[in-house]
Amino acid sequence: MESDAVRVLSETGANLERLETRRMADMRYWGQGSEIVVDLPPGPFSPRSAPDIVHAFEETYRRLFSRIPPEVSIQMVNLRVSVSAPVDGAQMRITADQTQGQSAFKETRPVYFAEADGFIETAVYDRYRIKAGETVEGPAVFEENESTLVIGPGAVCQAQPDGSLVVTLPEDGG
């Protein structure tokens, strides 16, 4: 399975020097109707690997379901292998700079905030014109084509180089 997977990757033109391999098994207790995917220890496997595989299953099961049932045997239903390697030049980069030198500020208008129990005169920004690193304190509204971001009083918003907006909420949960 693994050599098949590597061949496909190599034909795709992936960088095999940075190959990562994961061996997994769909496992369950004998008689159950659902499996869980368990990361197996590295091969090659022999009868001596059984305790490690059982351990890996029990740990995964415990993490998902908090406890394991007593006195039941374990079954492997499927084996999986996942081989991955990056393709050169696949790194995408988004740039945030659509500002064209304009200010992002559009206007102010009254906006209702439940925590303030009323309307507050609030600044409205064009999300596409926020400069990377620019910081805006709430209350504020950021308008974009698909969505609108509203941040309440006390929150702070900072634009990232990739165009993301990171909002830090005030400590009191407002």
């Binding site: 159950q32 869980i36 406890r67 007593p70």
Partner: protein, 549 residues
């Protein structure tokens, strides 16, 4: 939520939006726990038929929310079981990581295979509520499930209210005894563990919810949710005209002796009282219905007619009282057997419809081909190990004033039919067919749903003991408003009609035929839309066009 007034919301300290978010999150807690139970279970009863429920209650055992696919009987019984747990183990006798357990007939669900467990939820050292679950075990020992037992002692292993885990330590003596007493120790104990997985999940999610909102207890939220549902239910009941309404019906019962059921329903302002006086005394077979189960299916019927969309919790049921004379078939006394109590219990909501049909005809349906049918088989497999399985089958539902009854659907218990593919894989059986049963739907302007017919052959070299859940073989599901009854059910072994209340043994090559009953029709059959009738004939649902003349 629908009739929540903003003014009430303001008084309670929960604004409507926050409450809706909290409520939805609670539902997500129980639904996630239900999913974990399904994924970790060992039996088809849980996995395929969803014969289980998960509930969160407040610290007094008052239900708050239950898993979306919970079956109606457990919605009613499980909170009562938690209250019994609390009576036996008051808060000062409870510790974190305790798990309580019982399958007591009267304190549980009315029959032994349903094992109920609950775990107290502690938050910051304080008892805030309970996570609880009931699931139908694949086997609980005793005579295999049939209406034949006369006393509970014949029905299997009884677990009085006790601690399955004490501060995280499992009671191994109980587990050892349980394993020894059931035919399917791995499955029965495995499913019990799956239930505890669900309890853990509810506990973790509820405490995370409390933490993220900075709450110290569940009660204010519980009281708000219960209070809203109670007000909504009272409002719905007040809209019904006051009065005393009666209905009665007969069930197949013990074949030679039908069981007579009577209900008196009193609407008085914003309350409903239901009394089963006049019903037959309890019988010496396992079809008596303990009050816990009687209550569950009675309030379910009321809810269907009054406010079906209201979430189920303690509040919604507060305005309703249910009673019956001690020692009657729907309130039997020790040492009654109850293994097949749904053979009577599933009729109870239809009695409610009989009472309320005259005042809210648009909210009731004709009788259904219920109680659901089932075939229990047990024996020894090729490896010499004992096995036991219960496969469920359903009849057709009754028609309503606006549509045909659905075909082969479980009502009032939403337990799904067991697929053939799975049955053949786990039991030494071959299914010849499982198909819709023509002409079984009661004729009417709107037709009753069809039942199904199943023919199955034993492929086992050893003997297979079979017993059945089979009703309405004598009294069909009646139509209403001029609709005709559905076809009664039929049970045959090797082509010969047999008493469905007895146990049989199959040799290799012998066959069982089950024909589940159809639902009753609604309205005069002559008024049926000709196009709908032609479609029924084309589809093979109806072969006797003359039924509609």
């Amino acid at each position: 939520m629908s009739n929540a007034q903003p003014a009430q919301a303001a008084r309670s300290g929960f604004d409507a939006a926050t409450l809706q978010v909290l409520w939805t999150r609670l539902i997500a807690c129980v639904d996630e726990a239900a999913a974990a139970l399904v994924r970790t279970s060992f039996s088809t009863l849980v996995r395929e038929s969803h014969d289980f429920s998960c509930v969160i209650t407040d610290e007094f055992g008052r239900s708050l929310v239950q898993a979306t696919r919970s079956i109606p009987s457990f919605i009613g019984t499980l909170p009562a079981t938690v209250k019994h747990f609390i009576r036996e183990f008051p808060p000062d006798a409870l510790h974190p990581n305790d798990v309580l357990i019982t399958n007591d007939l009267h304190q549980g669900t009315g029959h032994l295979p349903d094992i109920s467990v609950a775990k107290p939820i502690f938050y910051e050292g304080r008892l805030v509520g309970f996570a609880a679950s009931t699931a139908h075990a694949p086997d609980i020992g005793g005579k295999i499930r049939s209406p034949e037992p006369r006393e509970v002692f014949e029905e299997g292993f009884q677990i009085p209210i006790m601690k399955l885990q004490e501060q995280g330590r499992t009671n191994d003596t109980l587990i050892t005894l349980l394993r020894k007493n059931v035919r399917t120790p791995d499955q029965t104990v495995g499913d019990l563990w799956a239930q505890i997985v669900a309890l853990d999940m509810m506990e973790r999610r509820v405490t995370a919810l409390l933490r993220s909102y900075g709450f110290t207890e569940l009660r204010p939220m519980a009281e708000e949710i219960q209070g809203r549902c109670e007000r909504a239910m009272r409002q719905a009941i007040s809209e019904l005209p006051d009065g005393v309404y009666r209905s009665a019906l007969d069930t197949d019962g013990l074949m030679d002796r039908p069981v007579h059921l009577e209900m008196t329903l009193t609407v008085d302002g914003d309350t409903i009282d239901i009394d089963y006086a006049g019903s037959d005394p309890q019988v010496d077979r396992a079809i008596n219905v303990c009050m816990c189960y009687t209550y569950a299916f009675t309030v379910y019927g009321v809810k269907c007619c009054t406010s079906p969309n209201l979430p189920n919790n303690e509040g919604a049921f507060r305005p309703i009282t249910v009673r019956g004379p001690e020692g009657c078939v729907v309130n039997p006394v020790f040492p009654t057997a109850g293994g097949s109590r749904m053979l009577v219990g599933h009729y109870l909501p239809i009695l409610v419809f009989g009472c309320l049909g005259s005042i809210v005809p648009d909210r009731v349906m004709a009788a259904c081909g219920s109680p659901m049918w089932g075939m229990n088989q047990s024996g020894v497999n090729r490896e010499g190990k004992p096995y036991a399985n219960m496969f469920f089958y359903n009849g057709g539902m009754g028609a309503t004033f606006r549509r045909d009854g659905p075909t082969c659907l479980s009502w009032p218990s939403n337990v799904s039919s067991t697929p053939i593919e799975l049955s053949e894989q786990i039991a030494p059986l071959r299914f010849k067919y499982k198909r819709l049963r023509p002409d079984s739907g009661g004729p009417g302007k709107f037709r009753g749903g069809l039942g199904q017919e199943i023919s199955v052959e034993s492929r086992s070299d050893s003997l297979v003991a079979v017993s059945f859940l089979a009703e309405r073989t004598v009294f069909p599901a009646l139509g209403i408003e001029g609709g005709k009854p559905g076809a009664p059910g039929v049970l045959k072994i090797n082509g010969v009609k047999v008493d469905p209340k007895k146990q049989y043994v199959l040799k290799r090559g012998e066959t069982v035929y089950l024909g589940t009953p159809g639902g009753g029709g609604h309205g005069d059959p002559a008024l049926r839309d000709p196009q709908a009738l032609t479609r029924d004939v084309t589809d093979g649902y109806v072969t006797r066009r003359c039924d509609y003349e």
